[in-house]
Each structure stands twice: as structure tokens, then as C-alpha cells.
Symmetry: C2
Subunit: 147 residues, 2 copies
DNA sequence: TCTCTTGCTGCAACGAGTCGCAGGTGGGTG
DNA sequence: CACCCACCTGCGACTCGTTGCAGCAAGAGA
């Protein structure tokens, strides 16, 4: 387990949320998974920790974690699927390979210049701080060089 | 109606798809909506044109249009919702305001430099050609300047 | 125009995610 | 430590999107 539970408890309290065994189970499940995880996997892991936990509770808990800033959401492979990720120290985005499914981190610095330019040009203040770019990774490009 | 139906029919044939009343209804629904539309709205508009059309047929038709290159998909507001858009002449991305829901087009040129930099830096070949950035539009920033 | 084949449609059933409700529980107060 | 209330949980029902299947129709060929 890489997270400091006390810290999370304080954060939940600070946002006016109660700390319940179910929420801790979801939190542990999310941490244990590491990186991007589907809600289905979170559900399975949470059930392993507490067999009686309900689907709807897991979804609501994930929502609470996101609202508290403890977790991030990102669109999944099959449009219509949400993935979750425990927050980390350094903000970052993701590159996902559409062939092999591998994910690579993309430093926020790389996107920063682009974001600032868009904000300047269009007057928007960008809040979507978790971008997922789709593409083909270097490895897969090698394997299908013929195409 | 802004689309040239004959053109669409040829494109569907060229991709080996049949042209059916249901598919034309979905196509008309998508064109009538203009811009990004939720699948729920496409379904409603298609039903207005053909009351007997089935949900599954609408989803399958949208899939056919996307595979034919006649429509584009983009992630929706609530992660886990797909939005559809009829293709246009000039490729572009979108800025969406998380407060009022308004959408603005973002020229592909703006993102081009960022995409090329990421490709150079990480070796990826980016294929996700339809980006949606979340933020707060200038209007909404004015109205909530106090916050 | 008629026939025939293949792909399309509507239906029904299913899984994922959401919501309203009644009862349970966290945690603040005395 | 006990009480109490607001929030949370589990349950059940619902919606949205997907899939398998049997029958139908687009459109190619004669």
C-alpha cells in the first residue's frame, strides 16, 4: 500500500464527507490497482476487501473520491467506459497506444505551452487537467512497419 | 438540410454498406442537429422521422457512419457518454465550457504544433484526431469574476 | 421485372451505471 | 459514554447501450 491513510481521512473530512469502511475499501482498491483502472476492476478489488459492498456504493465512493480531488477520471477504450486513477504528486497526462493498450505518462510540462496558447487565443480557462491522447506507440510502429 | 444525399449514398456504397431508410433517418437527424450531439438526441430526432426505428438500429447506424468516415465521435460531458458529429470540410477540435455547455471550434492548426512535439518527444504516432478540451469560457469567467 | 443472397432490422435479453427509498451508522454534542 | 441527526449504504427498479437471433429487404444478376 503506497498511500498514507491518515492524510486521505483528513482530506475527506475537509470536504465534508464521512469516512466509512466502504470508502476506504474503494480507496485501497484504487491504490492497489495503480495507474489507470476500470471501474469494473475497482469493484472486483473492493469486493475482495468487503464482500457485501454494493455496486452503487462503489460508484458513489469513486465519485466522492473524485470530488475530493483524491482520484481522477479519464475516458476509457470503449467510448462509454470511465477509468479512474489515484492522484499522484506530479500532474501528468497520458498517451495510450490504440494497438497494444500500453500507456505512457506525458508530463504536464509538455502540454503546458499548448494549453497556455489556447487560453490566450480563445480566452478559455482550461480545467480539464487530465488529457488522454490516442496513438500508436513506437513498439507497435516497428512491428507493423510494412503497413 | 445542408448535406448532399447522393454523395453520402455513394460513400456508404463505397464502404460496402447498404443504404436503408433507417440509416438515412439517422444521417438526417445528425445533420439537423449540427455540431456535437448526444446519441440520445439523435435517437429522438430519428424517431421523429421514423417512429418505428429501434434504439439498437440507431446505435448501429451511428457506428456505420463513423466507420464510413461520415461522422466523428467525441467523449461527452459525463464521462461515459459518446457524442457524435457530422464530418465537415476542415478538421477541427473543440473547446467545451464546463459551466454553460457552449462549444467553440478549435482549429486543428492550433493543436498541430503540440501534436508534432509530442510525436517527436515520445515517438508516438497520434491518431486521436478529435480532441475535446474542457474549460471555462470567457463569458462565464466574467459572470463569476467574484469567485 | 423477378429471383436470390447477404446484410440489415426489430425484438428480447443482458450488463453497466444511476437513482429513490428505507434503514443503518459516523461522528458531533452533551 | 450515550444520544441523535444527517449522511451513507444496500436494495430494487430504471435507463442506456450492446448483442444474438429470426425474419425482412436492398440491390446485384438474369
Amino acid at each position: 500500500m503506497t498511500h498514507n491513510r491518515l492524510n486521505y481521512i483528513e482530506i475527506l473530512h475537509a470536504h465534508g464527507y464521512r469516512v466509512t469502511p466502504q470508502r476506504l475499501a474503494v480507496l485501497d482498491a484504487l491504490c492497489a490497482a495503480g495507474g489507470h483502472t476500470t471501474s469494473a476492476e475497482v469493484l472486483a478489488r473492493a469486493r475482495a476487501l468487503d464482500a457485501r459492498i454494493d455496486r452503487s456504493t462503489v460508484y458513489r465512493s469513486l465519485d466522492v473520491l473524485v470530488k475530493s480531488g483524491l482520484a481522477l477520471t479519464a475516458p476509457g477504450d470503449n467510448a462509454g467506459e470511465t477509468r479512474y486513477e489515484i492522484v499522484q504528486e506530479s500532474p501528468h497526462h497520458h498517451l495510450r497506444c490504440s494497438r497494444c493498450g500500453t500507456e505512457h505518462e506525458l508530463s504536464a510540462a509538455s502540454a503546458g505551452a499548448f494549453f497556455r496558447q489556447v487560453e490566450r487565443e480563445y480566452g478559455y480557462r482550461l480545467t480539464g487537467d487530465h488529457l488522454v491522447l490516442e496513438g500508436v506507440c513506437p513498439e507497435c510502429q516497428k512491428h507493423t512497419a510494412g503497413h
